[in-house]
């Protein structure tokens, strides 16, 4: 019988992480996306990052909106929690979930349509709030799910599959996030897991909101020769502005080698370190203005600037800003959370 179920067979030397799980234990259902979709590679990178970080599957919450990209949480970590929200509403739902249960690790997976059109306002406020989450934009320049209309990230003059040019200026999620005060901003490419996986790992441990914009070609509607979000275009124009490794907390940090340009170590809130092995001259990944300057200089060149571009682990996240209790609200007994009308009456009485 023909089957498209992934065999349970594994490689004989498959390794286990410190929880005893293999990378296969972080997989989800079989993808129903088009074969060759960049989104599937990002899924594989997320699986990899979570396995390497040994995140317990039941401590993960996968959040998404609507779109091919928003379908992908079904394809990783079957054992995690998840919420598939209305179009563009994932940031609000995640803010609420994070407020209620701060013990979980949150990943939101969205598309350029879901985040930059209908959900743009939601995205902006999640950034402002510094909601502790990894926010992945699987950016293909089109609305894949609805058959390839231009999205707000499409470049001027890039053409649709039928040859129609795009006339409107794009919204760049990276510059947008920097402007709004985001504390972790990166861009990568679905076809480069060597770069993407360490960025995702750092983003997962980041104190607050981590935005990772991943160019993720839509093979069906936007991988043609006049697209600026195709595999070939991205490969040809991708510039690795920064090169970084993620060094987990317990691991010793070896003196960094910087083959071209200078390097830097940024210690994250939990004690792990992002080790930049290569940075452009005069570039400081913790200095927002310089990063914005650098990006400014590269706009309009056609280059796709990638890397972990900006990180600031010193800004308080949503919980710290709002002085929420250390204990997750989900752990507070019901009677205490909702002490009843009498207690409320008494409280109001006190303020009279």
């Amino acid at each position: 019988m023909p089957s498209i179920v992934k065999p349970v067979a594994t490689h004989p030397s498959l390794q286990r992480n410190e929880l005893g799980f293999t990378v296969r234990d972080y997989e989800g259902g079989m993808s129903t996306l088009c074969a060759g979709c960049g989104h599937d590679s990002i899924t594989a990178a997320i699986v990899r990052a979570l396995w390497e970080l040994a995140v317990p599957p039941h401590m993960l919450a996968k959040m998404s909106g609507i779109g091919c990209s928003s379908k992908t949480p079904a394809y990783f970590v079957s054992g995690a929690h998840g919420f598939n929200s209305a179009h563009g509403r994932m940031p609000a739902i995640t803010s609420g979930a994070a407020a209620a249960n701060r013990t979980l690790t949150y990943i939101g997976v969205s598309g350029d349509g879901d985040s930059l059109s209908i959900g743009l306002g939601q995205l902006c406020h999640a950034i402002r709030r510094n909601v502790p989450m990894l926010y992945v934009i699987e950016n293909n320049g089109v609305y894949g799910l609805t058959k390839g209309q231009f999205s707000a990230s499409a470049d001027i003059d890039s053409k649709s599959k039928r040859g129609e040019p795009n006339r409107m200026a794009p919204i760049d999620p990276v510059t947008l996030a920097l402007n709004l005060g985001a504390t972790f901003v990166a861009r990568s490419f679905s076809g480069d897991k060597e770069q993407l996986v360490p960025i995702l790992k750092a983003a997962f441990v980041h104190r607050g909101f981590a935005l990772v914009d991943v160019i993720s070609p839509c093979v069906t509607f936007n991988d043609h020769s006049s697209s600026t979000k195709s595999y070939l275009y991205t490969r040809k124009h991708k510039v690795e502005a920064t090169e970084s490794n993620f060094v987990p907390k317990a691991q010793e940090i070896v003196a960094h080698i910087s083959p071209n340009g200078h390097g830097a170590n940024v210690t994250m809130h939990d004690g792990s370190v992002v080790r930049f092995t290569s940075l452009p001259a005069n570039y400081d990944p913790t200095d927002r203005t310089r990063v914005m300057d650098y990006l400014q200089q590269h706009t309009g060149t056609g280059e796709v600037v990638t890397g972990l571009l900006y990180v600031n682990p010193s800004v308080p996240d949503m919980h710290e800003m709002n002085k929420t209790p250390d204990i997750a609200l989900t752990e507070v007994p019901f009677e205490k959370l909702c002490p009843g009308a009498e207690v409320l009456d008494k409280l109001q009485e006190d303020w009279r």
Binding site: S3, Q15, D40, Y231, R235, K236
Partner: protein
Amino acid sequence: MKLLPFPLGSIPGSEAGSARGPDKAQEAWPKRPGRTRALKPTDVRDPNYFHRVVDCQWACPAHTNVPEYIRLIAQGRYGDAYMINRESNVFPAILGRTCDRPCEPACRRGRLPEPGGDSQPVAICRLKRVAADLRGDISHRLPPVPAKKNGKRVACIGAGPASLTVANDLLPFGYEIVMFEKYDKPGGLMRSNIPSFRLPEQVLNDEVAMILDRGVEIRYNSPINSLKELLAQKFDSIFAGTGAPRGKDLELPGRQEAAARIHIGIDWLQSIAFGHIDSIGERVLIIGVGNTAMDCCRSSCRLGGKDIRVMARRPRGFFKASPWELDDAEEEGVQIVVNHAPKRFIVENGKLAGMEFERVEWDAGARKSTTIDTVTIPCDDVILAIGQDNAFPWIERDLGIEFDKWGLPVVNETTYESTRPGVYFGGDAAFGPKNIIWAVEHGHQAAISIDNYCHKLPVGERPPATMNLVSQKMGISEWSYSNDYNPSHRQKMKHVDLVERFKKLNVEVELGFSAEQTAREVERCLNCDIETVFAEKRCIECDACIDVCPVQCLTITRNGEEEDLRGRLSAPAVNLDQLLYVSAALPQTSRVMVKDEDVCVHCGLCAERCPTAAWDMQKFELFISYAGEETCNKQHESVPA
């Protein structure tokens, strides 16, 4: 936490890529200086490449197309499955019970971890028996033997599997075969030594008759006592398939005095087979722990032995017997006694009373032993099963046939020709005792040589093997083979119960697989002949295949030397005998697609998830040439999987 090396280097390789279809306008990827000793693209048109991926077929001395016959069994096409077998191994029913099965330790399934159990190969041999038992009448499918002969006469000495194979291969081409057999029945050791509780006489008779009844002139009770005389009879060619007929003796004190109760294993088994012996004492010691010893101890169980011990010099793990034969013997109550070195036969009142052994201790590799003490074990009979020797008293030494220092004829390993052109050796007679499947393969090869020799062609000119690759794609998510991975464990053979099986000497112990067992076991086969074939020009390096592969077979990386490249694979190979499949430079980045063939489960998901059909699943079929066949045009029925 140790991390696996991550596969994807984003470093562009050396050569400029050829632009893919509509994107020709885009310039080539930036160049890097040329790299030395990068791996060359794999040539999948070399028949050996994919043959090697089909582990079982590669390991089988006769290269039986195992996955094909397993699929045919799955479809209930037992006759077809039998014919596929018969073409390469000639005796499927016999081998389905007795084969040494070198294919099974090689089977890919045995390298894959099974959830909650040991890794176990597919029960290839048992499935062969299923095909044979259920085949129905296939007599009309045997290659026809022409009434008009080709005028060439070939003498085969001995009627064992080697000679029978030579006859099988040459008959259809009009050869006259005259077979000389010392005894009054054909089959060689398959009849005289393999006990009927493992190989029923009827099964042996059937498959031998399939050859002899098609026109072999067989002369029983006709030992060849002089090769010179046979040569004088002007045969066009002579094949010696006389086996290794002499059992080794053990010259220890007491051997002569106790001779009446000391038996040479292979002679003793033959006496049972020919009805000359029907009993043995209650206490039996078997010296040696090879497969002959297993047949001796189990035969003793059936002839009145009660306390039967197989005395081994070395510890477990160093025995020559196949593990399944040891299991079967122990199931029948035989004791395997390790670390006992025989010292002398104890004779009392002119009769065998027991044997003295040194108890020994071995070093880790069981190379050096030290004696602990001496023990005596009383017994009524001793059976010596310590090996076989060749003997060629019937070959005069002045015929131009050279012998080596071990008394074996000097035989060419490819052509099986002796140092006298026209005289060939095969089976146990060629290189000492082996097994049936090797005897068959020697027979095939010798037949090719004889055919060449009779046609005045150089015997070294071997017909090449050819191959075919056919896509198995039927439609979206539809493959013509069962690509599903079945997690069932290997099916256990059921045996006749212990009381029943000892009632008669010839009760076949193994019951064969039930229909349910067969249905499960066939699905365990991974179809290693359905190959992943790569077309680099189509690849857009989207990683879909790499991400979906359940066993991390695939990597896109820059080319390099093999060792370096192996270090960059998604997962390290466990078995280095399997090769790397390396593509030419990929169009976008000039990196290469590398596939480690080691543990691919042939699930087809890489091809299923590839947007450009750069990967395809194609059925590999190897066409082996036999004697007399026009090379290349040999096409046996190709079956959709």
